[in-house]
Amino acid sequence: MFDVSKPWLNRVLEGGEKQYLKAVDGVSFSIAKGETFALVGESGSGKSTVARMVVGLLPPTDGEVVIDGVSMSSRAALAERQRLRRRIQMIFQDPYASLNPRWQVDRIVAEPIRAFRLIEREKEITDRVGELLTLVGLHPADGKKYPHEFSGGQRQRVAIARALASNAEFIVCDEPTSALDVSVQAQILNLMRDLQDRLGLTYLLISHNLAVVRHMASRIGVMYLGRIVEISNGRELFAHPKHPYTRMLLDAVPDVGMTGRQRIPVSGEIPNPISPPSGCTFNPRCPFANERCRAEIPPLLGGVACHAIHEGRLAVDAAA
């Protein structure tokens, strides 16, 4: 929850109330070891916020993130949390922005090693950095370059190498390929796959490119305005989308296969998150909305949060 109220003084004088923006509201999901969980949804639906809360960059206002049985938000488990830190890493949306432009790449990659004191001897650190760079398909000699001397795909690899340096087992990837062309994107996705196969990594993948998600994810959560509206197995979601929003999203995807499928644009704009619609937040754009949808927030039952489906008004196999 972000406090976006006016400053205290203004409120006192103008009689306004405290305003909160619920970026993420009542999101629950779990990720099993070794799987790839994906979050999809329109821009501003709260995907990045979830990612940042999962790695502990943002404290949740309510609820908790539990990793391997340790709560990331409880005060007591400080030491535990510190140990967890090194097992979780994040690959940021924009690889260039996530690398300090004034640091050489080997220093960037070595930073978690030094910070967590994984290796003490300088010589061994150098060796380990070289090893990591090789692992992600770079040359150890590239360590002496600065981030701007790399191409986008290479930078992404550096970020991955840094994430691996802490021996992380769980990596959060926030739109890792959004700005890349397909050939470079293919390189990165393949690498992520290889690493998962070899090291048994767990991924939380965020993307608005549904094709990428479909290619990578074992399970997928669809977010709309801070809530998860549908959770499903990867292939299942694309084959049998349930929630009206999911259907709308899939319909909007352009068709590369040239199957002649007509693309239906999503209608309407995403509402203002500060004053979301009451009831189901999707109701103003939903063709199946009724009074209940406008009044009552649907619970996530059977992998979907939709009154119409729960009531059987909307058949599960109606689309796709």
Binding site: Q82, A97, N100, A115, S151, S166, Q187
Partner: protein, 318 residues
């Protein structure tokens, strides 16, 4: 731009030594392209060198009263019929050799400039960094202090600080103390500029993901602030610093005009100009002209360097 991913050796390999990288950089290239900048750099270097070597280059130690001969006072430059060796540029009212005085004065002016800028930059950068990074109350307090500071420009501060120091120390103000007062006053009044600039950039930088990445590793805040953020906000600071270097020299001269600069027995370039200023009408033009020219050329050179640096550091302008 992309190199071959499988580490195909780049045709233009990047030099690894520090110096190598410098001479390979775009900054150096743009330096070589601009004649004006090269002249400015040469002049700046010349001034620095002559300030450092003042003792060797000058025929007289203008700060040693025993070497001043009142009978030699107010001699015109050497090319004038009344000029005398070794006073190439003439002498002032006390028989001080203008040429020597310029060299020694340069030393003081540059010291004031460089130290003043160093002090204000350190202060300003630290406060700006802290304010920008921590935000909230700390930020508000530092920025209010900055507001108070801004109402006391360098001149007022120096007038006040000078009085305080003289009164507190009561006794004699030696060279070092006077210099410290000036440096302190100038440092104190210039820091706001740095603080505001740095704060602005920090507020942009701190939201970038490389800071989030550092936090993710669990680095302590001061380490993040100084190791990660600082290097990325230094660009504009460098440019302000060159301008302020010149400004500090001028401010010192102005303070001298108000009677709180360097003492006349140890004149800085500014003090020399202030002294010479009194002789503008009386025909002894050389007392003000040569120090004035020296100061103007110095400031010009430093600023041309600053201008060039500003452009050269901006990758979009190359």
């Amino acid at each position: 731009m992309a190199d071959a991913i499988q580490a195909a050796p780049a045709p233009h390999s990047t030099p690894t030594t520090w110096a190598g990288r410098f001479f390979d950089s775009d900054v150096w290239a743009s330096f070589k392209r601009s004649k004006l900048t090269m002249v400015a750099a040469f002049l700046t270097a010349l001034f620095m060198a002559s300030a450092i070597l003042a003792g060797l280059l000058s025929p007289q130690d203008p700060f040693d009263p025993a070497q001043l001969e009142l009978m030699n006072s107010r001699l015109p430059p050497i090319w004038d019929a009344e000029g005398q060796m070794p006073f190439v540029l003439g002498t002032d009212e006390q028989g001080r050799d203008i040429f020597s005085a310029i060299l020694y004065g340069l030393r003081i002016s540059l010291a004031v400039g460089i130290l003043g800028v160093a002090l204000s930059a350190t202060l300003g950068i630290t406060l700006g960094l802290v304010a920008g990074y921590l935000g909230g109350t700390v930020d508000a307090i530092i920025m209010r202090i900055a507001d108070v500071q801004l109402t006391f420009p360098a001149i007022l501060i120096a007038l006040l600080v000078d009085g305080v120091v003289k009164a507190v120390l009561g006794g004699q103000l030696d060279e070092v103390t006077t210099l410290s007062v000036l440096v302190f006053s100038i440092g104190l009044s210039f820091w706001v500029q740095y603080a505001r600039t740095v704060r602005g950039s920090v507020m942009v930088e701190k939201n970038k993901d490389y800071i989030a990445a550092a936090r993710l590793i669990g680095l302590p805040t001061p380490v993040i602030m100084f190791r990660h953020v600082l290097p990325n906000v230094l660009g504009p600071v460098l440019v302000i610093a060159t301008i302020n270097l010149a400004l500090a020299v001028i401010t010192e001269a102005t303070l001298s005009f108000l009677g709180t600069g360097m003492p006349e027995t140890m004149p800085s370039l500014g003090t020399l100009i202030r002294i010479g200023n009194n002789y503008l009408f009386s025909g002894e033009w050389w007392i003000v002209a040569f120090p004035g020219i020296a100061l103007a050329v110095l400031v010009l050179a430093i600023n041309l360097l600053g201008d060039w640096l500003r452009d050269a550091l901006n990758p979009k302008l190359r």
